[in-house]
């Protein structure tokens, strides 16, 4: 209980996303109730329900959800009206049809939100159209009420602390790169010292997955907001794919480190440390680049991998690896491959961020 109160208290501040979302939504729901009463609407309850359903913490999220809700309602009500007009007199057909649509509604719930709303609205319009004296006109009422509810919700999203997902893109990109870097740092220290740091590694991996999921949501919402160009939307989508690949590579790196089961080969320890430090430096520079278009320091040169490979080659030529078990050599090869792939993905991420800012080269 104390934890819950602490959490609630912690978010009870005007710059909290939760607090702002709650205030914004509460005002919209109250406005919807007031509008339903002052306009004396039929089924005015649909106004606040629409508001409750479409409100999301960001403007883009509310636009996306509101649009789907309106589209689904118009299509579903249209279908319901059509069915009531053509089959309304044949109760033996229309009632089983309404029941079937009700089941289809749940069937679609996890597949496609717009189709779910289409089926739900058609069911509601048919059932109420059969019960209420208004008949098929109930469909028009549903459309009207949903449109007013959506307008109130969108109005609140635009006017009250508008939380543009687009405005937080820099912060999101910086945040995800920082969590990647934190995870890599831990992996590197586990590899270099040979210590078992599995619990801490799992914790940072959860941070990475959380941050990536949040990043994905923000990217989608930002793409729905007005003012973003098509090429910027494409760059966002490509950047997201790059981030997911980095996550895969870090997961794979963690497996390699777990399998290595000891410290780095003494002959490689210094160069491995340098290589990992260079990779971290790339992450850190990119974090800064995500926040400021022109960081004060230049981008780190990507010579660490070729230098490391050159060193491996010369060590191999001098027979340093002859006595090293093959499994261990395999782990080292896999480690190099992973670091190289992470470097390539970081380069890709740099290009995507550049495109997002200035368009394609």
């Amino acid at each position: 209980m104390t934890d819950a109160i602490k959490k609630l208290r912690g978010e009870l501040r005007t710059d909290s996303v939760f607090f702002r979302h709650a205030i914004r939504s509460a005002i919209a729901v109250a406005a919807a109730i007031a509008a339903a009463h002052s306009l004396d609407l039929h089924h005015g309850i649909w106004l606040p329900i629409t508001v409750v359903v479409i409100m999301r913490p960001s403007l883009g999220g509310t636009i996306r959800h509101g649009w789907r809700r309106v589209l689904g309602t118009v299509l579903g009500a249209g279908a319901g009206i059509g069915l009531l007009i053509t089959l309304g007199a044949h109760l033996n057909v229309i009632i089983p049809l309404a029941l079937f649509l009700f089941l289809v509604t749940f069937f679609l719930k996890n597949h496609n939100y717009t189709l779910f709303v289409v089926a739900l609205t058609a069911t509601v319009v048919i059932i109420l159209g059969l019960i209420m004296p208004m008949g098929w006109k109930m469909g028009l009422v549903r459309i009207m009420d949903t449109l007013i509810g959506a307008a109130i919700g969108l109005g609140a999203a635009f006017l009250i602390w508008p939380q543009k997902a687009r405005a937080s893109l820099k912060k999101q990109i910086h945040g995800i790169l920082a969590t990647f870097e934190e995870h890599l740092d831990l992996l590197a220290s586990a590899y270099l010292t040979g210590q078992d740091r599995e619990p801490a590694i799992i914790r940072t991996r959860i941070h990475v997955i959380d941050a990536l999921n949040q990043c994905e949501e923000v990217f989608f919402e930002a793409s729905a907001e007005p003012g973003m160009r098509t090429e910027q939307r494409q760059a966002l989508s490509r950047l997201l794919r790059t981030f997911f690949r980095i996550l895969d590579l870090l997961t794979s790196l963690s497996t390699i480190i777990r399998r290595s089961g000891g410290t780095v080969l003494p002959v490689l320890s210094e160069s491995t440390e340098k290589l990992l430090a260079a990779t971290r430096a790339e992450f850190i520079w990119l974090e800064r680049y995500a926040l400021n278009s022109e960081p004060s320091d230049p981008r780190p040169s990507q010579t660490a991998i070729p230098q490391f490979l050159e060193e491996i080659r010369s060590l191999r030529a001098s027979g340093e690896f002859e006595d090293v078990p093959l499994a261990r050599r395999n782990t080292i090869s896999a480690f190099i491959w992973n670091i190289r792939a992470i470097g390539e993905e970081l380069d890709m991420a740099y290009q995507r961020i550049f495109e997002l800012r200035y368009g394609r080269k």
């Binding site: 819950a4 959490k7 609630l8 912690g10 978010e11 939760f18 607090f19 979302h21 709650a22 205030i23 939504s25 509460a26 005002i27 729901v29 109250a30 406005a31 109730i33 007031a34 339903a36 009463h37 005015g44 309850i45 606040p48 329900i49 409750v52 409100m55 009700f102 089941l103 509604t105 749940f106 069937f107 679609l108 719930k109 996890n110 597949h111 619990p199 799992i202 914790r203 959860i206 997955i209 959380d210 999921n213 895969d248 997961t251 794979s252 497996t255 390699i256 777990r258 399998r259 093959l326 499994a327 395999n330 782990t331 090869s333 896999a334 491959w337």
Partner: protein
Amino acid sequence: MHYLIRGFYKKIIHPVDPAFFMTGYALKSVLACVAALFAGMGLQVPNALLQWGVFGAFIVMLSRAGDSYRERQRVALRVIFISALLVPLSTLVGNTDLLREAYVFLLAFFAFFGAVLGLPAMITGLGILLLNLFALGDPDTLSAGGDRALLVMMGGVIAYGVNFFILPVYPRRILRKAGSSALTDLGDYFRVVAESIEEKHSLEAVDKFRDRARKSVRRYREIMEAMNMDPMAGLDRNEGPTALYAILVRMLTAVINLNQNSRFDKASPLYDGVRQAFSALAVDATVSFERLAQNLSGGETPDPAPMDRAVDELENRLLELGAYKRGDAVREEFLEIWGIIHALRNLAQELETLGHLRIGGRA
């Protein structure tokens, strides 16, 4: 499951499985609402009030959240009792102009702010808000509100009974089955990837199996989402449905990596040797996958050793080919094949982790 039924299940029912689960839940919801309606009629409740029993049942069926059976019970009970407490007040306040808006503002604020405490709290808050919106939209006296509250409680308790005692759903049991199906699909995908090295399957066929495995893993996630389960719960304890989901995703990634690594030159002097080694590996790995799938559906405890042994054998076979000492070009190819070994080792590691995973029983 009998292998003939399993084949039928995999081809026909499996692809639409989660939607069937949702439709089943819809039928159960209809049953709960109808039962609440008949109970009201049986108690000779006036027609104007009959809908409140149905509302109570509906809100309970709608507010399903929590990643365990107990937590879902708790959420349902909270929705029933808090709603029943607030409905009389909402019914009365609905009559007064400015007070109504102020009241609904507070109610909506708490419902949305509850998201700070997680998904179950948010679902509880929104369920209560929806029910009270119905009451606010149809204002009346306090005593009429009291009658409504009693009926909401009756409907809610009926839905609770239907949901948890008459036709209970055990989320983890369903997820174990979905996990077992996903694992079987991953095993099939792995088998065709391994066999494609022997040219037994075309690239299109391999991609078809990849898509099936991908859909199967996604289905597992969809079922979790359909049950409003917290996707992060249990991830740090190597237990629970989320941990299984994380491993399934990693395994899928591992097999996709393996597939990408296993396209090497057929003209290579190493090709024949590797091809034979993979043939043996495909069989042993399939056994490992099958055993793990059986374990998830409640069968014997798995032994990840066959997969590990098979990878050892593949490694030894490659060593025997002596590629490392056959010039630079062959050595490069040899290193490429080591990439496969590494991908396989990753996969074996994930299989082992999966063997130690605790999904839990009834809850």
